[in-house]
Symmetry: C2
């Protein structure tokens, strides 16, 4: 896969899978909405401060993030670190009208926070082969990029028609 | 979710996500076909002996398996242990006509092996709440069950029409 093809996989995804080893060394896996990206290495996820994974990431940020398109047999595994943001600019960035149903207190709801995942290595998989994304490679590719919500529902609808299954 | 609802989630899935901590402590995530189940705790995956995850599981079987239905906001995280099977009965069980394109040597191809994941704890997630599946609860539910391929393409097609995205 070219870097652009990997970026396309990231940009058209609605969900990502995150995983981390909990205090007992058990791997915990979660499925999360993940549509805000800064190139290949930076990814934002809004979530509940009270959730077990946020409590864990405040102590230990080591995590992995996986994005795949099952219909096309494409997958990207990123290993890196999760940072928990409570500052208002991050929370404003990802806030949508109507999110009050999840966070009744609005943007300032203490149960609302933003996870930032920063990758330091990637491995991609496709029917035609696999390969490694190094930190310098991602840093060069991501240079000058800023966070943006790249998800477009139309593209997603097209994907699901190809027979993808969650 | 009831045990039957969790079983339905498992049975109608085509893919699962597996994760493990590699020798450097990095979490590695993979998307795999996973349609053979024995109730809630037992799951079979056919794969390449030469792959990095098989090499790892031969040394350290600790792993987690995650099944989700994005369209319905249902997810099941299972933690447990992976066993690698090379014996012919396991390999015969999961072999499909045409698998020679992946394993030219047929059922006896040394690059073809079966992973068996055995869960010792589960956590389920749905829009209406979450909960824990204990080992005794799964053992009781799974009693008397045998491995079967539970995937039906028709059900899957119905799922994808609901807007699921890989």
């Amino acid at each position: 896969m070219t870097l652009q093809e990997i970026q396309n996989l990231v940009d058209r995804s609605l969900f990502a899978t995150l995983a981390y080893a909990d205090a007992e060394g058990r791997i915990q896996i979660r499925r999360v909405f993940c549509t805000w990206h800064r190139g290949l290495a930076g990814h934002l996820i809004s979530t509940n401060t009270s959730s077990a994974h946020v409590r864990h990431f405040l102590q230990d940020g080591r995590a992995s993030l996986y994005v795949s398109d099952d219909a096309r047999f494409e997958g990207l595994n990123l290993t890196g670190r999760m940072t928990v943001h409570f500052e208002r600019p991050w929370k404003e960035l990802l806030w949508h009208e109507g999110d009050e149903i999840y966070y009744p207190g609005g943007i300032d709801d203490e149960d609302y926070c933003i996870l930032e995942f920063t990758a330091d290595e990637g491995r991609f998989y496709r029917y035609d082969g696999k390969g490694i994304l190094s930190a310098p490679e991602m840093a060069e590719w991501d240079q000058g990029r800023t966070y943006a919500d790249t998800y477009t529902p139309t593209l997603n609808d097209a994907n699901t028609e190809e027979g993808s299954n969650a």
